[in-house]
């Protein structure tokens, strides 16, 4: 690249020798590309497979934009009535909306149209999944800690936006499945106190389903929501550049450096190549696996419904919550009629509670968690080295509890399919899941925390005593012992290089009083850290060596095994 070899002296202007050089120089002089390249060309990125989910999400989004743009050329978001006259026999002459008709036409009559629809739908499912898995990775490794709290929030907003993008798109074909989905949304909206009925009428332009909703969702789906996603992605990536990437703990890595491969050429080649790989995987799936066959469901009509009416997976947990909620709890109706001076109003908690409370809990905790942990630990340092999940047992256990909470609702959304495929009673499946909804997160918390602590003890054991080799020797006095191979310094550091905070007493204020807030903090600190395993220390290793002379003698075998 000629631009990188500019002469330092300003007086003698750089004269490029080749045509390419002249064009590059022309652009560079006008946009300052050299400075950008100098800053980013060799920027270091740590390498780990779990760091790739952000890229999976980004690339699915790019593929969504590409395939979605193609679809807009053929899709017509109108709810006007028409009669199908295309090649698909089982719908010939059937009354349907123009939106559904154009979906069928772009699937059956536009070459590659069906493929693009399947690419679009598969990558939409993948997009939300990748955002979710990426957030799980960030949570379980503690990457949300200072200075990345705000970027965690941006990620949470992106998760919500990706669900909004998915849902608005799901409804567009105006088929029977998505139409019943919209009807459920209408029912949920109507349960909102005071303004619910009005929101419903404004949303649908009158009584459900009206003739406006598809056009409105279309505008949200192709303009507003993607624009917001793009803005959030820009902010997200800008902050990644400011913070530089986190890295897993290991020898040579600390909070003051970043160890990895330079952007050019290795990282750029891998990340760039990965885009093509992602596109290839999605194309392969779309070529061989059918998704959302709208012609099977038929056009939307308010009278029919199909067994197995479910939303796409990312809305499933809310649908599952609606299924889990009993309408009557011990003969107490969950729909309340509240007398007011002007008359009685209806509050249907059987709809409102499951639609809002679990989602409210999940997203509130998700957004404020970095601040909870920061307040409990009083840790105001920057963290660029990640925690291995086992080294933060309480956080990991909280994450697993939340994950189970989510998954029970998610599974409940397929209660009818669980019933038919595992040959159990639909009602029993729901009774069990209601129980799991309460008990599952608690059990998950306890088990995960114990497993994490056990893994930490195992790490300690290995760091201090080495790995079991399976070789048994007989000592001169007759005792049998298994030879333990000591770790080398690099491997050991990976097992011992972490922090294990201790519970803190509440700190008195200037008047010497421990406030209620400090008391709570102290209690939370105990909750987080009272069960803890400290990293192995050199003195312990030293002591161990005196005990087990035989393992020390086998040090040379430690590196290779």
């Amino acid at each position: 690249m000629s631009t990188t070899q500019q002469t330092p002296a300003q007086e003698t202007p750089f004269v490029p020798a080749t045509a390419t050089g002249r064009i590059t120089n022309f652009v560079d002089e006008r946009v300052g590309g050299s400075g950008i390249l100098r800053e980013f060309g060799r920027k270091v990125f740590p390498d780990h497979w779990s760091f790739m989910f952000g890229e999976v999400a980004l690339y699915s989004f790019v593929i969504l934009l590409l395939s979605g743009t193609f679809l807009t050329f053929f899709f017509d978001p109108s709810m006007a009535e028409t009669h199908y006259s295309g090649p698909y026999v089982p719908l010939k002459g059937v009354e349907m909306s123009v939106a559904y008709d154009s979906t069928l036409r772009l699937s059956f009559e536009v070459r590659g149209g069906l493929f693009m629809r399947q690419v679009h739908h598969w990558s939409a499912l993948l997009f939300v999944a990748a955002v979710s898995v990426h957030m799980l990775r960030v949570f379980f490794t503690g990457a949300f800690r200072k200075p990345r709290e705000l970027n965690w929030v941006v990620g949470g907003v992106l998760l919500i936006l990706s669900m909004a993008a998915g849902f608005t798109g799901y409804s567009l074909p105006d088929d029977l499945l998505s139409g019943n989905g919209l009807r459920i949304i209408d029912g949920v909206v109507k349960s909102i106190p005071v303004i619910g009925t009005y929101i419903s009428f404004f949303l649908f332009g009158g009584e459900f389903p009206g003739t406006a909703i598809i056009g409105r969702l279309y505008m949200l789906h192709i303009m507003l929501v993607p624009a917001m996603i793009l803005l959030m992605i820009a902010i997200h990536l800008f902050m990644v550049v400011v913070h530089k990437h986190t890295q897993y703990p290991g020898p040579g890595r600390n909070d003051r450096n970043v160890v990895g491969y330079p952007l050019g050429p290795v990282y750029a080649a891998k990340a760039g190549g990965f885009f093509f790989i992602m596109f290839g995987i999605i194309a392969f799936i779309s070529a061989t696996f059918q998704i959302n066959p709208v012609w099977n469901y038929g056009p939307y009509d308010p009278s029919p419904v199909s067994a197995g009416t479910q939303p796409d997976w990312y809305i499933g947990w809310v649908d599952g919550a609606l299924r889990l909620m009993p309408g009557w709890v011990f003969n107490i109706p969950m729909e309340w009629h509240i007398p007011f001076p002007w008359g009685t109003n209806t509050l249907s908690m059987n709809v409102l509670a499951p639609a809002l409370i679990p989602a409210g809990i999940v997203f509130t905790l998700l957004f404020i968690y970095p601040w909870i942990e920061r307040w409990v630990t009083r840790d105001n340092r920057e963290h660029h080295v990640l925690d291995r999940p086992r080294n933060a047992p309480t956080r990991t256990a909280i994450g697993v509890a939340g994950f189970i909470f989510y998954c029970v609702m998610w599974a409940a959304a397929s209660s009818d399919l669980i019933a038919t495929h595992f040959e159990v009673s639909l009602n029993d499946a729901l009774y069990w899941m209601r129980a799991l909804f309460i008990v599952g997160p608690i059990l998950g918390f306890i088990i995960t925390k114990r497993v994490a602590l056990a893994l930490q003890r195992k790490d300690r054991e290995i760091a201090l005593h080495g790995r079991e080799t399976g070789r048994i020797v007989r000592l001169p006095h007759g005792e049998f012992q298994e030879i333990h191979a000591q770790l080398d310094d690099y491997k050991r550091y990976k097992l011992v290089g972490f922090e294990s905070p201790v519970p803190e007493e509440g700190i008195p204020n200037e008047n010497g009083i421990v406030t209620k807030k400090e008391n709570l903090r102290s209690k939370l600190s105990s909750f987080f850290f009272e069960d803890r395993v400290a990293p192995a220390a050199p003195s312990e290793l030293e002591a161990g060596h005196h005990h087990e002379a035989i393992t020390a003698a086998d040090d040379d075998k430690a590196i290779t095994h």
Partner: protein, 342 residues
């Protein structure tokens, strides 16, 4: 929680005492020594990797060609056969085109590009110097605007800015009409015949044998030219016939059915899915969306699931010609609850 630190961890040697680890800690040994790859030392291996990368790029070229063969070579007709073949082949073409490029580049990077890990220093995200400079700039700006010295300007500006977005909310008022009492009425009225969904032919009482389930619309629905779907969304009814002794009508509702024929709104009182799964032996109605179950023998009382209210019953009678007709509209709003429902 109390003093929990006497739990199991302390009994093992695994738990350290507080403050202990600060002095006694393993030192970072630094980056491990670099390990060379086969291709770094063996020119043959490097050459082999080079050829593999080239082959992957050739696979990509073949994939793109496959796309064109599938796109132009397959003629679609009325059946799914050619469509499926085309979808599969052009999809696989794109897949190979992309996977070839992607795996080729990645293989090139992994096998042939330098793989020395490098460490880069992090810099403070914000330096104290910058902060002071920024504070100074903000102070200067505020000072130059004079906003602190001129509260009149400040307060009127706050007022103006607070009010200015309101039109942006108000302008959405015309998104839809006000609900009024439209949720309380359906097409059903006295004498409206019950008709088959979707063709709209009226139903005679004698047509409905025991164990039957008819999906019903008002006879006048299909002649609507506007708002038909919205009207249908409220008016759909499920008509069933049981042995009259299986029905247990409450007081005042004894004559809402006819000879064991009863009609109930098909719209779930939970969130509005059509409750259409009728089990003719158990006389249960199940909603396929959220599994609310209604018992027809108890006037569609909820016996399972998230719904609270029973399905509204449509009072029916038989007209002079033997056709089933509605006695009136539903006596309560159909479908999901809403705030004004009362």
């Amino acid at each position: 929680m109390g003093n929990h630190s006497d739990g199991s961890p302390t009994s093992s040697d695994a738990v350290a005492k507080a403050g202990h680890e600060e002095v006694d800690k393993f030192q970072d040994p630094g980056l491990p020594p670099h390990r060379l790859r086969l291709a770094d030392t063996d020119p043959k291996a490097a050459k082999r990797a080079e050829r593999q990368v080239a082959w992957l790029f050739i696979i990509s070229i073949v994939g793109t060609l496959l796309f064109f063969v599938a796109y132009f070579g397959i003629r679609l007709d009325d059946t799914f056969g050619p469509l499926r073949l085309q979808n599969t082949l052009l999809g696989l073409g794109v897949a190979f085109a992309m996977l070839g490029i992607g795996t080729g580049i990645v293989h090139w990077a992994r096998a042939l590009m330098p793989d020395h890990e490098v460490a880069e220093e992090r810099h403070a995200i914000r330096s104290e110097e910058d902060r002071l400079a920024a504070v100074q700039i903000v102070d200067d700006i505020l000072d130059e605007t004079g906003i602190k010295r001129r509260p009149l300007i400040r307060n009127t500006l706050i007022g103006a800015v607070a009010l200015a977005p309101l039109p942006a909310i108000a302008i959405f008022r015309d998104l839809g009409p006000l609900p009024g009492d439209s949720l309380r009425h359906t097409l059903w009225k006295e004498g409206e015949r019950l008709a088959r969904d979707p063709d709209g032919t009226p139903i005679k009482a004698s047509d409905v044998t025991i164990g039957s389930a008819f999906h019903v619309i008002p006879e006048s629905l299909n002649s609507l030219t506007e708002g038909k779907i919205a009207a249908k969304a409220k008016a759909v009814v499920l008509l069933m016939r049981l042995n009259p002794e299986d029905l247990n009508p409450s007081q005042g509702r004894e004559d809402w059915g006819y000879n064991g024929i009863v009609a109930y709104s098909k719209i779930c009182t939970h969130v509005g899915c059509p409750v259409a799964l009728y089990e003719q032996q158990t006389h249960h109605l199940l909603c396929p969306c959220h599994q609310s179950t209604f018992d027809l023998t108890q006037e569609c009382k909820v016996i399972f699931g998230p719904a609270v209210r029973p399905l509204p019953q449509l009072p029916i009678a038989v007209d002079a010609d033997g056709y089933l007709v509605a006695q009136s509209d539903f006596h309560e709003p159909v479908g999901p609850s809403f705030w004004e429902r009362g």
